[in-house]
Structures are given as structure tokens and as C-alpha cells.
């Protein structure tokens, strides 16, 4: 039986092709790890009942000499992506019992590349949160300290990889929901350029910001998953092609640090110290690290918490108790809506829908939503200009290590501030990766690299050099 905790996608693929172990054995190792550890962690909402059948099919393919990038690799899926004939709830009671009628494009691509889809992972309800505590199906715990959160909203996927339950996982990132839990759990998390990965079959949070991306143990593994996932899709008109951002400037190893932003208040001392060590390490690897001025980047989080709830309030209007999911009966049609949505949506979702309704309402639209759109444009322009002189922007991924369960649940603004360093990449659509950078005691820390539009290649190059891959 292979030791899944010691394998990467790359090493597992080599071993599978050499027949050192079978796909059934590797899948069995994943199921055993879940059985042993997941009752304490709760990364998974469901482990699919057909995984061993998938593995047997895979072994036939391997025996026939097939070689696909993910053939036989156990992968977990965040519960907001559709897997045909399986439940998908987005962590919400309002979708309890919903069965996906088709595969989302990202899932379809994983299957076509031979991945074994192990199950669906826990998440903040509708991806609204930074701790996975707003899930309607219980909290997920950080494998490095069970009294702490794994981050969110893709907390289950981060834990599934960090605890060695699977070799890779999918998450979605609207304001940091891949990178922040990756940092809290000590794994690699990538948010590609906006439009790089099709979102067909992803339950939408904020459509101008949402992007699907991978969790993995190594940058190389994240790159393998990225190459499977990326590409134009006729089912998502926002997807981009290789030609969309065509300027291919040379990678000259210049990193910019937005010093004033990084040294703003609220940064944990361990995070600050670790960040200085990271800067020195990049210098020792031959990178030029220079301070840069991004005067408006500090407004990214405020901008985000106007645009995201506005779009969410519109996107979530589709949950009405008529077409699918939960239905609560009232006296008439409109009362059905009120009851279904009042009981089906959790507290954070109600909070954001109402906030979004406010910033879009007549009289406040220009003041909030209009201003936020202008600010989004200003920040985007500022960042795109910065990338004419530098290759990468470096910041910590999070201002603190993983916080305690329950610590921020009664103070929404303090929870929102956990996304301070991850949000700018979503505002400007930029690709961004979190890579493990050290420890604060037993808790992992992450550092975030952000590249210009379409330049995931620069993230992979620098990330691999940093981790010595």
C-alpha cells in the first residue's frame, strides 16, 4: 500500500506508470487516510461511492498503455462545483438534496485527464467566509492545530491536501478563498488569471471576481493541475486564450514589495519576521527585490466588500425554492420565496445579500457601487502599470497565522480583514499563488506572489525556485 502522505502528483504518476502500485491501491490509501483522519478534521462532506470503480477503470487504462497527466490521481472537489449525478450544496441548506445534472467544465477536464474524483469538500456557505465556519454542514479544522480554522472559503480542499487525504484539490477564489486556506494549512494554492479556467458548473458568488484554481503539495503539482484546467470554453464567455494577453516580456527576476501596504497595522509579528526572511531568500536566489508604491491598493478590500455583495445579491436571486433545492411553503408564491430564502440561507449569506441590495439600491448606487467600480479601475490601472517595471509582487498571504475557531465569527469586519493581501489580485484579475514560507510555532505561514495578467509562468518559475523544486 503506497504512503499517500509522502507522494506528490508527479511522483505518484511515475510510480503508477512503473506499476509500483495500482490506481486501486493508491485510491485505497486515500480512502484509508480519510477514514483514519477525517472524522476529526471534517474536510469532506461526501466521499463518493464509486471511487474504487473509477480506480479499476483506471488500472485497465494503465494496463492498456494509456498515459494521461492525472491518470489514477485522487482529487477532491470543492462543494460548489458540479460533478454529474452527485450532490452539490455550496455548503448551504438551500441546496440540500440537489443533484448535479452535468459536469462542470473543470471537473470534466479532470476526468478526461484520468483523475479519480474522491469526493466533495466543505466550504463556507456559497464561498462567503474566510474560515469555513459558515458552512451549514459543520466546521472544518486545521490539521496543524485542531483548535484553529483551516481558512476559507475552500477550507475543506486545503485540509484534504494538507492532511494527505488526496494529492490535489479544486477550490474557487473570489477574494482569497484558495490562497488564504493554502497559507493557513501549509500547501500551495493558485488563483489563475481571471478567465483562465472555465467557470461553467461553478456555483457563482461574484462573477467579475470568481476563478477556479488548484491546491497541491508542490508548485510543480499545481502547474500540472493548472495545465489540465486552463483554456477557452464556449460555455464560459469570460474565458481567455493564449492570445488575450499577448505581451511576453522576458522574466528578469524583479520583485516589487508594496512596502507601505505590507507594513500596515494588524500584521502579526511572526508574519512580519517571516516575510523579511522570505525577501532575503529571494535575494539569495538572484532576485532583485525593490520597494514599490501602490497608493490605492489599500482600498482593495473596501472595494471588494462593495462589489462582491452586490454581485452576490444578484447571483443568489436564483435560489427561490421553485427550480431546485429547498422549498418552504408559505400562503402564496411570494411568501414561499421569503420563507425558503430566510430558512435556506445562513446568517453570513443573508448579511451579504442585504448589504448587496443596499449598495445597489436607488440613492446609494452611485455612492457605493459606482465609486467601487471606479476604484476597481484605478487599482487595476495602478497594478498593470507596476508590472511594466517588475515581474512579480510579493506580500505575505495573510496578516496572521490561522486563528482560533470562533474567534472572528461574531465580528464580520475582523473576518473580512483576513483577506487584505489576497483581494487585490481578484480586483485586478491577476494570477496569484500562495506558497508555504515557514512556521509560526506549529502553524504554517504563506507568502504570496502575484504576476501580471496571463503570466502564471512567472509564478511557477519563482515558486519552484523558492521551494527548491
Amino acid at each position: 500500500m503506497p504512503d499517500i502522505s509522502k507522494l506528490s502528483i508527479k511522483s505518484a504518476r511515475i510510480a503508477l506508470q512503473k506499476k509500483e502500485f495500482s490506481a486501486r491501491e493508491l485510491t485505497g490509501a486515500s480512502l484509508d487516510a480519510i477514514k483514519e483522519k477525517d472524522s476529526g478534521l471534517h474536510a469532506f462532506l461526501e466521499v463518493f461511492d464509486d471511487v474504487l470503480e473509477q480506480a479499476d477503470e483506471t488500472d485497465k487504462k494503465i494496463a492498456n498503455g494509456e498515459n494521461l497527466p492525472l491518470l489514477g490521481i485522487p482529487i477532491a472537489i470543492k462543494d460548489n462545483m458540479l460533478v454529474e449525478s452527485k450532490h452539490a450544496t455550496a455548503g448551504s441548506k438551500i441546496l440540500e438534496g440537489f443533484v448535479a445534472p452535468y459536469d462542470g467544465t473543470a471537473v470534466k477536464k479532470l476526468k478526461a485527464s484520468g483523475a479519480i474524483i474522491i469526493g466533495r469538500t466543505n466550504m463556507d456557505e456559497f464561498a462567503m467566509g474566510s474560515s469555513t465556519e459558515s458552512s451549514a454542514y459543520g466546521v472544518t479544522k486545521n490539521p496543524h492545530d485542531l483548535s484553529r480554522v483551516p481558512g476559507g472559503s475552500s477550507g475543506g480542499s486545503a485540509v484534504a491536501v494538507a492532511a494527505g487525504l488526496v494529492l490535489g484539490a479544486l477550490g474557487s477564489d473570489t477574494g482569497g478563498s484558495i490562497r488564504q486556506p493554502a497559507a493557513f494549512c501549509g500547501v500551495v494554492g493558485l488563483k489563475p488569471t481571471y478567465g483562465r479556467v472555465s467557470r461553467s458548473g461553478l456555483i457563482a458568488l461574484a462573477s467579475s471576481l470568481d476563478q477556479i484554481g488548484p491546491f497541491a503539495k508542490t508548485v510543480n503539482d499545481a502547474e500540472i493541475l493548472y495545465e489540465v484546467l486552463e483554456g477557452r470554453d464556449s460555455l464560459d464567455s469570460t474565458t481567455i486564450s493564449e492570445q488575450t494577453y499577448s505581451s511576453r516580456s522576458k522574466f528578469s527576476k524583479v520583485i516589487g514589495v508594496p512596502r507601505a501596504f505590507v507594513e500596515s497595522e494588524g500584521i502579526d509579528e511572526n508574519v512580519g519576521n517571516n516575510f523579511r526572511e522570505v525577501v532575503e531568500k529571494f535575494k539569495s536566489l538572484g532576485y532583485e527585490v525593490r520597494d514599490i508604491e501602490l497608493p490605492h491598493i489599500k482600498y482593495s478590500l473596501a472595494t471588494y466588500y462593495i462589489i462582491m455583495p452586490a454581485e452576490a445579491s444578484s447571483n443568489l436571486a436564483r435560489f427561490d425554492g421553485v427550480k431546485y433545492g429547498l422549498h418552504k411553503d408559505g400562503k402564496n408564491v411570494i411568501e414561499d420565496y421569503f420563507k425558503t430564502r430566510g430558512e435556506g440561507f445562513g446568517k453570513e449569506v443573508r448579511r451579504r445579500i442585504i448589504l448587496g441590495t443596499y449598495v445597489l439600491s436607488s440613492g446609494y448606487y452611485d455612492e457605493y457601487y459606482g465609486s467601487a467600480l471606479k476604484m476597481k479601475g484605478l487599482i487595476t490601472e495602478e497594478l498593470n502599470e507596476a508590472f511594466e517595471k517588475i515581474d512579480l509582487i510579493l506580500t505575505p498571504t495573510t496578516p496572521t497565522p490561522a486563528f482560533k475557531l470562533g474567534e472572528k465569527t461574531s465580528d464580520p469586519l475582523s473576518m473580512y480583514l483576513a483577506d487584505i493581501f489576497t483581494v487585490p489580485a481578484n480586483i485586478a484579475g491577476l494570477p496569484s499563488i500562495s506558497i508555504p514560507s515557514g512556521l509560526a510555532g506549529t502553524l504554517p505561514l504563506g507568502v504570496e506572489l502575484t504576476a501580471g495578467l496571463g503570466r502564471e509562468d512567472n509564478l511557477f518559475t519563482a515558486g519552484k525556485e523558492f521551494l527548491g523544486e
Binding site: F98, S237, Y299, K323, R350, T357, L373, M375
Partner: protein, 93 residues
């Protein structure tokens, strides 16, 4: 923002809300709106041309996205109430 305003917004959003939740939300919204309201105060904002930066819709040509009826049965099965091939709702008029 007061409790009544929150209840009115919840009405617009078709979300049933208890009085005490509306009360606590009104206090939370004060704090959140105070924070996000920072974006309004930036001088440079007025000079920024919203039209140039705003996202645009991408439309596809009309046509068959997939074979007609391919998903009909599976989608119908998800509806909480049905009558034959119709999704059932309460009387509107």
C-alpha cells in the same frame, strides 16, 4: 442604518428576517459601511473614467448550445414540485 431600513432591504431581497437579527445587522452594517465608505473619499476617483474601465458583456451567437432535451429530465427532477413536464408554483393571479 436603523432596524427598519434593514427590514425594508430584506423585503426587497425576498429574505425573511427576524426583528432581533435586523437589529444586530443594523449595527454590523454601520461598521462595515464605515469601512467600505473609504472608497468614496478618494480625490482621484472623480477623474477616473468609469466607462473605459468597466467590464463589458460578451454575448454568443444564438444557436443550439447542446442537443435539445439532453438535460431536461435531470433538471425537471430537481424541482421541488412538478405536474407532468411542468414545474409547479402557486397561483399568481
Amino acid at each position: 442604518m436603523d432596524k427598519e431600513k434593514v427590514l425594508n432591504l430584506a423585503k426587497l431581497a425576498r429574505v425573511e428576517l427576524r426583528d432581533e437579527e435586523a437589529e444586530s445587522l443594523s449595527h454590523e452594517f454601520e461598521v462595515i459601511l464605515d469601512y467600505v465608505g473609504e472608497v468614496k473619499k478618494v480625490d482621484k476617483l472623480d477623474k477616473f473614467n468609469k466607462e473605459e474601465s468597466s467590464l463589458r458583456n460578451v454575448m454568443r451567437e444564438d444557436g443550439e448550445p447542446h442537443k435539445s432535451g439532453l438535460y431536461t429530465k435531470k433538471i425537471q427532477e430537481q424541482a421541488p414540485a412538478r405536474e407532468g413536464d411542468y414545474i409547479k408554483v402557486k397561483k399568481i393571479l
